[in-house]
């Protein structure tokens, strides 16, 4: 481990908001002049909420059992690990038999797999995708990069600890993890869900301000609302 190098100091400049997102006056096609504030007007402003448990333990257990058996993964390959998802989707490893499938949109998915390193640019999209997923939802981190920066530990453009920015329920070691290791991870996640311990999304809602602060510290051109639901 090298000590923090302070000979070089990074610059902390603000990035101005893109013009089309600034509050301004526009003329509508029918000639009216209205004031718009795109970030407020175009998005829902709701804050994330803690997903309540069912009123009875038996029902909650049933829910958890059901959830654990329908892990729908958002088909968003954020890093190298995505290449090992393909074999899982195809007959040889066939993850579908375990109730796991890939969905093209966050609205239909409840598991976000961060497949390795996240560049700042992708982190922004990943946060957005995550926030758009319906609750209850889970995050899985693949490989070294999501744990402590991996081999891009000294890169200016990749984050080091995924749990700074998103609540992670499970990590899989490897660079990159094999399909079998991924399956192991899914099975483990199922166990966690069944025990009712996959509380990442609730943690996110509870510590929302903290997560946002971390996210905004690295994503400098924050041009979206605080919560992308």
């Amino acid at each position: 481990m090298e000590d923090v190098d302070d000979k070089f100091l990074k610059k902390n400049k603000e990035v101005p908001l893109r013009e089309e997102l600034r509050p301004r006056k526009v003329t509508t096609p029918d000639g009216q002049e209205i004031e718009i504030e795109p970030l407020r007007d175009y998005f829902c402003e709701a804050q994330p909420k803690v997903h309540p448990k069912a009123y009875s333990k038996i029902v909650e257990d049933f829910y958890n059992w059901a959830r654990s058996n329908s892990l729908w993964i958002l088909g968003f390959g954020t890093g190298c690990g995505a290449i090992e998802m393909r074999p899982l989707m195809t007959p040889r490893f066939d993850a579908y038999r375990y109730g796991i499938q890939w969905r093209p949109t966050p609205r239909q998915a409840n598991l976000l797999v961060i497949s390795g390193y996240l560049s700042v640019k992708t982190l922004k999209r990943a946060i957005r995708a995550y926030e758009q997923m319906p609750q209850p939802k889970y995050v899985m981190g693949l490989g070294s990069c999501t744990i402590n920066g991996g081999m891009y530990w000294d890169s200016y453009n990749t984050i080091k600890r995924l749990d700074d920015y998103l609540p992670v329920d499970l990590y899989i070691a490897g660079c990159m993890p094999r399909p079998e290791a991924l399956l192991h991870g899914f099975m483990e996640l199922k166990q966690i869900i069944r025990k009712g311990e996959a509380e990442g999304a609730n943690k996110y809602a509870e510590n929302f301000a903290q997560y946002k602060a971390n996210q905004k510290a690295v994503i400098k051109d924050w041009d979206m609302p605080d919560y992308n639901w």
Binding site: M1, E2, P91, R92, F93, D94, R97, G141, S144, T146, I147, N148, G149, G150, M151, W153, D154, R161, L162, D163, V168, D169, L170, Y171, I172, A173, G174, C175, P177, R178, P179, E180, A181, L183, H184, G185, M187, E188, I192, E197
Partner: protein, 598 residues
């Protein structure tokens, strides 16, 4: 659009009747034999050199102290802790591992919801894959750092036997760089070196071609770098990380290559006395060997006045009178001592303390006295007839001093240490010069592989025509009238018992007589402490035959320090280390004394 193009896609349906290709149980699927999975580390083999940490481009490895692994010779006691939040399983750490202790299993599954869990010390933190034999191992010996020592030129036996010229050529600049390049700079050797020289640092100077910087670095820890570059016992090389697979780095020769590469006269520019005020205090040092002169060098550089009393003709001690010229040429030693003298050290030769000047006189005239008298008396086996034997150490001194020594056609040497080799090879040279042929027999109690002499010394002695009889116990020196005729020995069945203790067992039936016109005893040496006088001997505290000293080299007398072979056993570099230690202690005392006066 042909009909064929419409119909042919339907041929895919034939796969309906095929067996599925799905892997039934993907969870227990084993990875290939070479798979680079999770790490394993053999605790017995690992030496904690940190090469794995050095090569890791992900900063995934930390060297950490672990329970049950203690630092010791050739083992730092540290072990690699691997962060699987960094690792990329490239296995460079396995490839570079100096001992082959670090390997990889073919295990690949590790899931955890705690991100801090992915950090472990392989071999210490128990893991399910610790004993897995499959997994990545390098195909042959390590290949990322050189394993073979750069060749060293030396005079062939035929050419060297007839003279006392230096044998070893020393590295050429290219050879030195190639050899220095092999060093992984782990620094394990530094702890082993009695003087704790900055070995990796000066080796890196060789690699960079900065010989002058290297020389200054050498002199920081050793004013006898030229001598040590030739004749050091180089214990450092026995703890070199490179020796586990391949040859140890030729540390000694690299040191020599620095000292040889800097022109003689440049030494005086590079090694200058620091600009310190004179303290007006003075120290007497008895014996101009490595310990005494190192003390003198250090003290003179601190501004003290130093006088060294030497009983013999010339300074150098055992380096001059014990070590033959073919190993350490006198001009090298002269130059080395002249550098020390340039610090303002005064050396008075032919001043035998106890005769020319007494200890009491020294005590009153100087603020401190250092006893560095070495081991200049030879031990005798005291077998019958041994009174007719020569002591190796006397003989060597006489040869150095240029005295006439008897050179019979056949000489028997008793002893298996370096002194035995030195006298055997010196006598061989004299025989070659006088008789044109070599006739030296070396006998020793030990088996050849337990000889105390360096391997090279033994090999070179054999090359030069000396006969070595290992495991022979001397029983009698045969004498006919006044002349020695031979040496009678018994076979030694075992010299050490099961616990490794000396317990010689002889086979009395296996008797040999080695004919010889001279028998030389080279079994051991002791200090000549007669100079102390009975009174001082009685005053001093002793520790098992040696003057008792504390960690700083001070004796029980507040004005007297002791250093070198006489207290630490025979070893030049040890003597140098003693010298430094004593110098610091004396200097501390003198400073305190000065401050008390002010």
């Amino acid at each position: 659009m042909s009909l064929r193009d419409v119909l042919s896609p339907f041929t895919a349906w034939k796969h309906v009747i095929n067996d599925p290709v799905t892997i039934k149980d993907p969870f227990s699927r084993e990875a290939s034999d070479r798979y680079r999975g999770f790490h394993q580390n053999d605790m017995d083999k690992c030496i904690g050199c940190g090469s794995c940490e050095e090569i890791c481009q992900n900063a995934a490895i930390d060297m950490v102290p672990v329970e049950g692994q203690n630092a010791g010779p050739g083992d730092s006691g540290l072990r690699p802790m691997i962060d699987y939040g960094r690792c990329c399983w490239c296995a460079l750490c396995v490839d570079v591992c100096m001992t082959g202790s670090l390997t990889m299993s073919n295990e690949y599954t590790w899931v955890d919801s705690d991100p801090d869990a992915f950090r472990f010390v392989p071999g210490v933190d128990a893991k399910s894959w610790d004993l897995e034999p499959k997994g990545y191992q390098r195909e042959d010996e390590r290949r990322l750092t050189g394993t073979v020592r750069a060749p060293m030129g030396e005079t062939c036996p035929e050419d060297r036997i007839g003279n006392f010229d230096e044998i070893v050529d020393g590295f050429t600049a290219e050879q030195a760089i190639i050899e220095a390049d092999r060093c992984v700079e782990c620094g394990l050797c530094v702890a082993t070196c009695p003087a704790h020289m900055d070995i990796p640092d000066y080796i890196s100077k060789v690699r960079d071609g900065d010989y002058e910087g290297g020389l200054q670095l050498l002199y920081e820890t050793n004013p006898f770098s030229q001598a040590c570059g030739r004749i050091c016992t180089h214990k450092c090389e026995t703890t070199c990380a490179a020796m586990h697979e391949g040859d140890a780095i030729a540390i000694r020769w690299l040191k020599r290559s620095i000292t040889d590469s800097v022109p003689r006269e440049r030494y005086f520019d590079l090694i200058q006395k620091p600009d310190v005020p004179e303290t007006g205090q003075s120290v007497a040092i008895i014996g101009a060997g490595p310990a005494g002169l190192t003390t003198a060098y250090d003290l003179a550089r601190k501004g003290h006045q130093v006088v060294v009393f030497e009983a013999l003709d010339k300074p150098g001690g055992m380096m001059r009178y014990g070590i033959p010229e073919y190993r350490l040429p006198y001009h090298v030693l002269d130059h080395e001592i002249s550098v020390i003298e340039s610090m303002g050290v005064e050396i008075r030769c032919n001043m035998r303390v106890g005769q020319e000047i007494s200890m009491d006189q020294l005590k009153t005239a100087y603020d401190a006295v250092v006893l560095s008298i070495g081991l200049h008396q030879g031990r005798s086996t005291r077998v019958p007839g041994s009174e007719k034997a020569e002591a190796a150490i006397d003989l060597l001194r006489r040869i150095t001093a240029g005295e006439e020594v008897p050179v019979p056609e056949q000489v028997a040497v008793i002893g298996g240490g370096n002194v035995a080799m030195d006298i055997a090879r010196s006598m061989a040279r004299l025989q070659k010069i006088k008789h044109g042929k070599v006739g030296v027999t070396v006998t020793a109690l030990e088996e050849l592989d337990r000889f105390l002499a360096d391997k090279e010394e033994i090999e070179e002695a054999l090359e030069e025509g000396c006969d070595i009889f290992p495991a022979r116990g001397p029983q009698e020196i045969l004498v006919d009238g006044d002349t020695v005729t031979g040496l009678r020995t018994w076979k030694v069945d075992a010299i050490f018992d099961a616990e490794g203790r000396f317990a010689p067992k002889y086979d009395e039936d296996d008797e040999m007589v080695h004919p010889a016109g001279m028998v030389v005893e080279a079994i051991g040496q002791m200090a000549d402490i007669s100079l102390l006088g009975a009174e001082l001997t009685e005053q001093l505290e002793w520790n098992r035959g040696r003057i008792m000293i504390d960690a700083d080299g001070q004796t029980s007398e507040p004005w007297l320090w002791a250093a070198g072979d006489a207290v630490s056993g025979p070893d030049v570099i040890h003597a140098v280390a003693d010298g430094h230690r004593v110098a610091v202690s004396i200097s501390r005392m003198l400073t305190a004394k000065r401050e008390a006066l002010q």
